[in-house]
C-alpha cells in the first residue's frame, strides 16, 4: 500500500462522487455517507457511462446512461445485469481522503 492524499472529504458532495485521473484510467471516488468513501473505475462495463455522474444510494451507484447498478463494496453489477467494475483501496484519515497509489498503477515514490 502507498496511500496518496487526494483531497478533503468535503470536496466530494454527500451521496456524490469526484474523478481522479490515474495511470489505470479515471477512478471515481464516491462519498456514500458523512465519513464513508469508495473508489472504483469510472467506466461502466456496459457502454462506458461515467459512474461518477450516477446517483449514489446506499453503498451503490446507478450508471447515468442505462441504469446499471453497482455495489461499491464488490464492484459487482446488481440485479440481472452481469459485469463488474474494478474497486480500489481508499480510506479516510480524519478529513483527508487517501487512495492506494499501488492499486491505481502508480510506482512507489521511494
Amino acid at each position: 500500500m502507498s496511500w496518496i492524499d487526494i483531497g478533503h472529504i468535503d470536496d466530494i458532495p454527500l451521496r456524490g462522487a469526484r474523478l481522479v485521473k490515474t495511470p489505470v484510467g479515471c477512478v471515481a471516488i464516491f462519498r456514500t455517507a458523512e465519513a464513508e468513501v469508495f473508489a472504483a473505475s469510472n467506466a461502466c462495463p456496459h457502454k462506458a457511462g461515467p459512474l461518477s455522474e450516477g446517483i449514489v444510494h446506499g453503498q451503490k451507484v446507478t450508471c447515468p446512461l442505462h441504469n446499471w447498478v453497482f455495489d461499491l463494496n464488490t464492484g459487482e453489477a446488481q440485479g440481472a445485469d452481469e459485469g463488474r467494475i474494478a474497486t480500489y483501496p481508499v480510506r479516510l484519515d480524519g478529513d483527508r481522503i487517501l487512495l492506494d497509489g499501488h492499486a491505481v498503477g502508480k510506482r512507489s515514490a521511494a
Partner: protein, 811 residues
C-alpha cells in the same frame, strides 16, 4: 339442466368461491346469491386505508351486482333469508321461496359488543363495515373518539381517525398492544409510534361504563379507576362472533361456528359453509388467507373434485402507515426455546426470532419487516436453520455473505416461499406467471391473485418482477415507487402533504423506506415532491438528481455534454448568434437547430461547461433548461407582428409565458407552443400546453403529446385576453406540479385525474389565483440561472477532477 345453487351472503369468501366455481365451469350451476346488505362485495381488509384516506370506497369494491350478473348469477341483494328447510331443500327469502340442490352459507360474522352499561347509546359502533367506516370518517378534526380494543382492527381504526385529525384514545385491557401477534418489546415500539401520531394509549385499562349526554348520545367512557375519557364516538373493536343463527335454525351442527369438515360440508351433505361463520377442527377464522383457501376447497367440492382444507400458519401485518410490523408463528417463551434478538433503537427496529431445537418457530419484527416472508417460509417449512444460525436474524441477503439488497433478499427466497399470504400464492407461481408473459403488477395480479387483496406484498411481487425481468421491468403508475417502499407515488405525494414531511430523512423514516437513502428511482421523485410542496422549507438536493439536472447540461453517449442557451419564444439577435458562434468555435462544439426553435451546442467536455456558460452569460443568455424536468421551450410563430394571417401577438405571448415559467421544476418536461392563428405554424396542438390565437382571443389546449405517444391537445378554456391566457397557463402548470406523479407528462396526468376535474378546479377564480400565487412563491426560490451560479470559480472547480495522479507518474 344445471343444478341449482343458492349462496347466502355476498362477502369476500363467497365472492372468491364463486370466482373459482365460475372460472372452472360456468355452466355447472344455476346460481342465486342472497345478500342482506343492498350491495355487492368490497374488500373489507381495505376499510382501514379508506378510513385513513389512502383509498376510496370505489377502489376497494371487488364484486358489485354487475360483476355477478355478467356471470349469470341472480342477485337478490337487500333481501334477508328468513328460513332454510333442509328437508324440502328450500330457502325462503323476504320476497319468496326458492329450491336448491346445493346451498352455501357464508353469513360471515358479527362484531362482538361488550355488554357494558351504555353500549346501546347513539355513537357507539363496532368497526365492521362501510357504514362504520363512514361514521368514523365523518368525525373529522376537532372531535374525539375512544376505541376499545388494542388489536389489529382497533389500532387501524384509531390510526385512521387520527390521520383525519380526530383526537383518539385507545383503551386496551391487556398489558401491551396486539398481544396475540406481538411480544412486549414490539408492542412498546408500536405504542411509541402511535403516541407520536398523537394517539393516547391506555393499556391494562378496564372499561366500566359508557356515559350518556342529555340526548342519549355517548359522552365519555369511564374506566374502572374512575378516569373519564370524553368522546363523540366510541368504537368497539374487540373481536367477532361467527354469525350462526341461520345455520342453527336449519338444524345444522353449530358450536362456536357452523361446523364443517375438510371439504367445507356441514352436518347436512347438501349444505356447505365457509368464511367467518364456520368452525373447522375447533378453530374459527378472522383473517382472510384461510378464507380464500376455504373458497378454493368449497368450489372444488361443488364441482365434485377432491380438495381438503388445511389450516396453515398465518402471518400478520398491520395496515397503519409508518407502523411496520410483522409477526408469525409462536413467540411465547418456554422450555427449550431460544431467542435471537436484534435491536436498533435509533431506527426503532426490533427483531426477535424464536427457535426450538434447530427450527425457527416464531418471528416478531418491528420497524424493518423486509425479511418477514422469508422467516415465515422457514417457520412453515420447519427448515433446519442450524447452519445459518449466526446470521439468521439479518435475513436471506446475508446467507452466503452477500450484501443487503432487497432484490437479493427476494432472489434468495425458495420457489415455494409464500409471497401473498391473503391468496396463498408462492414465489414459484409468480415466476411462472411472469415467464408466461405477465410483465407487470397488474398482469401478475390478474393471473395469480398475488397482491390482489390487502396489497402489503406489492413490493415483494414487484421485486420478483424486477428479479425475473431485469431491465425490462419498469415500475408503472399507481404501483409502488420502487423496491425501497410499498407505497405508490400517489401515496407518497399525499403523505408528504398530509404529514408535512419536509426533508428526505423525514420521508425515509416516517414512510418506512427500506433502504438507507432510497435509490435512483425514488430519490429524484421524492426530491421533486418535497421541493414542489415545500419550496421555502426544503432545499433542492443535486445529489438526488439525474446527471443532466445536476450538471445543467445533457450528457451524450460519449460522456460529453450539450449546451443550449435560452432563446425566449424562439427569438434571437445578431449579438446572441455571434456569441453562440464564437462559443461553438472556442469549445469545438457541433451546432444543431432543435425542434423547439433553439440552437444546441453538442460535444462540450465537462471541464469546459463553466467556461462556456460564462461566455454565454456574458452575451446575456441564460440556461435553456433543455435537460430538465421543467419548462423547456415555448415555441411561437411570428404572429400578428409579421404574418398576414396572424390574429394576435403570438410571439409576445410566448415570450411572456417563457419569462414567467422558466426555471420551474415540474414532474416531467413541459413544452409550450403559441400559434398566431388556427393554421398553427407553432404546432401548438401537440404540446403540453398549446395556445391558438383567434380573433376573439386565445384557445388554451392542454395535454397534447408528440413523443412516444402522439395526441392532440384538449381544450381547457377560451379566454379573451392575454393576461387571462397567462393566468390559466400558470395555474395549470402549478396544478400539474402539485398533483402529478414524477415522470408523468401532463397528458398522462390529465388522463388519470380527468380533464373535467382540471377544468373544474381551474374554473374557480379563487383557486386559480391561489395556484398562481403558489407558483410565484416557488419561482421566488427557483427562478434563477443555474449557469451563472456554477460559472463562479469556487463552484466551477467541482467540474474538474479531484486529483490528477497521471502527471506525477509521467515525471
Amino acid at each position: 339442466m344445471a343444478k341449482k345453487l343458492i349462496v347466502i351472503g355476498a362477502g369476500m369468501a363467497s365472492g372468491r368461491m364463486l370466482e373459482h366455481l365460475i372460472d372452472a365451469n360456468p355452466d355447472a350451476y344455476d346460481i342465486t346469491l342472497f345478500n342482506a346488505e343492498p350491495r355487492g362485495n368490497y374488500n373489507r381488509l381495505m376499510l382501514s386505508p379508506v378510513l385513513s384516506g389512502e383509498k376510496t370506497y370505489e377502489e376497494i369494491v371487488t364484486h358489485d351486482a354487475a360483476w355477478y350478473e355478467e356471470r349469470g348469477v341472480t342477485c337478490r341483494f337487500g333481501e334477508k333469508v328468513v328460513a332454510i328447510d333442509t328437508e324440502k331443500k328450500v330457502v325462503t327469502g323476504e320476497k319468496g321461496a326458492l329450491p336448491y340442490d346445493k346451498l352455501v352459507i357464508a353469513t360471515g360474522s358479527n362484531p362482538f359488543i361488550i355488554p357494558l352499561p351504555g353500549h346501546d347509546l347513539q355513537g357507539v359502533i363496532p368497526y365492521r363495515d362501510l357504514e362504520d367506516t363512514e361514521a368514523m370518517m365523518a368525525l373529522g378534526a376537532g372531535k374525539r373518539a375512544v376505541v376499545i380494543g388494542g388489536g389489529l382492527l382497533g389500532l387501524e381504526a384509531a390510526a385512521g381517525m387520527a390521520a383525519r385529525g380526530t383526537e383518539v384514545d385507545v383503551v386496551h385491557i391487556m398489558g401491551h398492544l396486539m398481544e396475540r401477534q406481538l411480544d412486549e418489546a414490539a408492542g412498546y415500539l408500536l405504542r411509541r409510534s402511535l403516541t407520536e401520531k398523537g394517539i393516547r394509549v391506555h393499556c391494562k385499562a378496564n372499561s366500566k361504563q359508557i356515559l350518556s349526554d342529555a340526548n342519549g348520545h355517548v359522552r365519555a367512557l369511564q374506566l374502572d379507576d374512575g378516569t373519564e375519557l370524553p368522546c363523540d364516538l366510541l368504537v368497539m373493536a374487540v373481536g367477532i362472533r361467527p354469525s350462526t343463527a341461520l345455520g342453527k335454525e336449519a338444524g345444522l351442527e353449530v358450536n362456536r361456528g357452523i361446523v364443517v369438515d375438510d371439504h367445507m360440508v356441514t352436518s347436512n351433505p347438501d349444505v356447505l359453509a365457509l368464511g367467518e361463520c364456520v368452525e373447522h377442527a375447533g378453530a374459527i377464522f378472522g383473517l382472510v388467507a384461510p378464507l380464500y383457501d376455504q373458497a378454493k376447497v368449497l368450489a372444488k367440492t361443488l364441482l365434485g373434485e377432491e380438495a381438503r382444507f388445511v389450516q396453515k400458519e398465518v402471518a400478520t401485518k398491520l395496515k397503519v402507515t409508518g407502523c411496520d410490523l410483522f409477526s408469525a408463528g409462536d413467540f411465547a417463551e418456554g422450555e427449550g426455546r431460544e431467542d435471537i434478538v436484534f435491536r436498533d433503537p435509533a431506527r426503532g427496529v426490533y427483531k426477535r426470532l424464536i427457535l426450538e431445537g434447530n427450527r425457527l418457530i416464531g418471528a416478531v419484527m418491528y420497524g424493518d419487516t423486509a425479511d418477514g416472508a422469508w422467516f415465515h417460509g422457514l417457520i412453515k417449512d420447519a427448515t433446519e436453520v442450524e447452519e445459518m444460525r449466526e446470521t439468521l436474524i439479518f435475513g436471506p441477503a446475508y446467507q452466503g455473505g452477500a450484501a443487503a439488497d432487497p432484490m437479493a433478499a427476494v432472489a434468495a427466497l425458495p420457489r415455494d416461499a409464500e409471497i401473498c399470504g391473503c391468496n396463498g400464492v408462492c414465489k414459484g407461481q409468480i415466476e411462472d406467471a411472469i415467464n408466461a408473459g405477465a410483465g407487470d403488477l397488474g398482469a401478475v395480479r390478474a393471473t395469480t391473485k398475488a397482491s390482489a387483496s390487502c396489497g402489503t406484498c406489492t413490493g415483494l411481487v414487484e421485486q420478483i418482477l424486477g428479479a425475473t425481468l431485469g431491465d425490462d421491468f419498469v415500475i408503472p403508475a399507481a404501483q409502488s415507487v420502487c423496491g425501497c417502499t410499498d407505497l405508490s407515488h400517489e401515496d407518497v405525494r399525499r403523505l408528504i402533504k398530509s404529514q408535512e414531511l419536509k426533508s428526505q430523512e423525514a420521508v425515509w423514516q416516517e414512510l418506512g423506506w427500506t433502504t438507507r437513502n432510497g435509490c435512483h428511482v425514488c430519490r429524484p421523485a421524492v426530491n421533486f415532491y418535497l421541493l414542489a410542496d415545500w419550496p421555502l422549507d426544503y432545499v433542492d438536493d443535486p445529489q438526488s438528481r439525474f446527471v443532466n439536472e445536476r450538471n445543467h447540461a445533457n450528457i451524450q453517449k460519449d460522456g460529453t455534454y450539450s449546451v443550449m442557451p435560452r432563446m425566449w419564444g424562439g427569438m434571437t439577435t445578431p449579438q446572441e448568434l455571434m456569441a453562440i458562434a464564437q462559443a461553438a468555435e472556442k469549445y469545438a462544439a457541433t451546432e444543431k437547430v432543435t425542434g423547439g426553435q433553439r440552437i444546441d451546442l453538442l460535444g462540450v467536455k465537462k471541464e469546459d461547461l463553466p467556461a462556456i456558460w460564462h461566455d454565454l452569460n456574458e452575451a446575456g443568455m441564460v440556461s435553456g433548461h433543455a435537460y430538465t424536468k421543467g419548462l423547456r421551450t415555448v415555441k411561437t410563430c411570428v404572429g400578428s407582428e409579421w404574418c398576414r394571417f396572424g390574429t394576435q401577438d403570438s410571439t409576445g405571448l410566448g415570450i411572456a409565458l417563457e419569462r414567467r415559467l422558466w426555471g420551474s421544476w415540474t414532474p416531467h418536461k413541459v413544452k409550450l407552443g403559441v400559434s398566431g392563428c388556427p393554421r398553427n405554424c407553432a404546432e401548438a396542438t401537440c404540446k403540453d400546453v398549446g395556445i391558438v390565437c383567434v380573433d376573439s382571443g386565445f384557445q388554451i389546449g392542454v395535454a397534447g403529446a408528440a413523443g412516444m405517444d402522439v395526441k392532440e391537445t384538449e381544450r381547457l378554456v377560451d379566454v379573451p385576453t392575454e393576461q387571462e391566457a397567462i393566468e390559466w397557463t400558470v395555474a395549470f402548470v402549478q396544478l400539474y406540479r402539485e398533483h402529478a406523479k414524477y415522470l408523468d407528462r401532463p397528458y398522462k396526468w390529465v388522463a388519470k385525474v380527468g380533464l373535467d376535474w382540471v377544468k373544474e378546479t381551474l374554473a374557480d377564480a379563487a383557486e386559480r389565483q391561489a395556484l398562481v400565487e403558489r407558483f410565484d412563491l416557488s419561482q421566488s426560490v427557483y427562478q434563477k440561472d443555474p449557469w451563472a451560479e456554477r460559472a463562479k470559480p469556487e463552484v466551477a472547480r467541482r467540474f474538474h477532477p479531484l486529483a490528477d495522479l497521471t502527471l506525477e507518474a509521467a515525471e
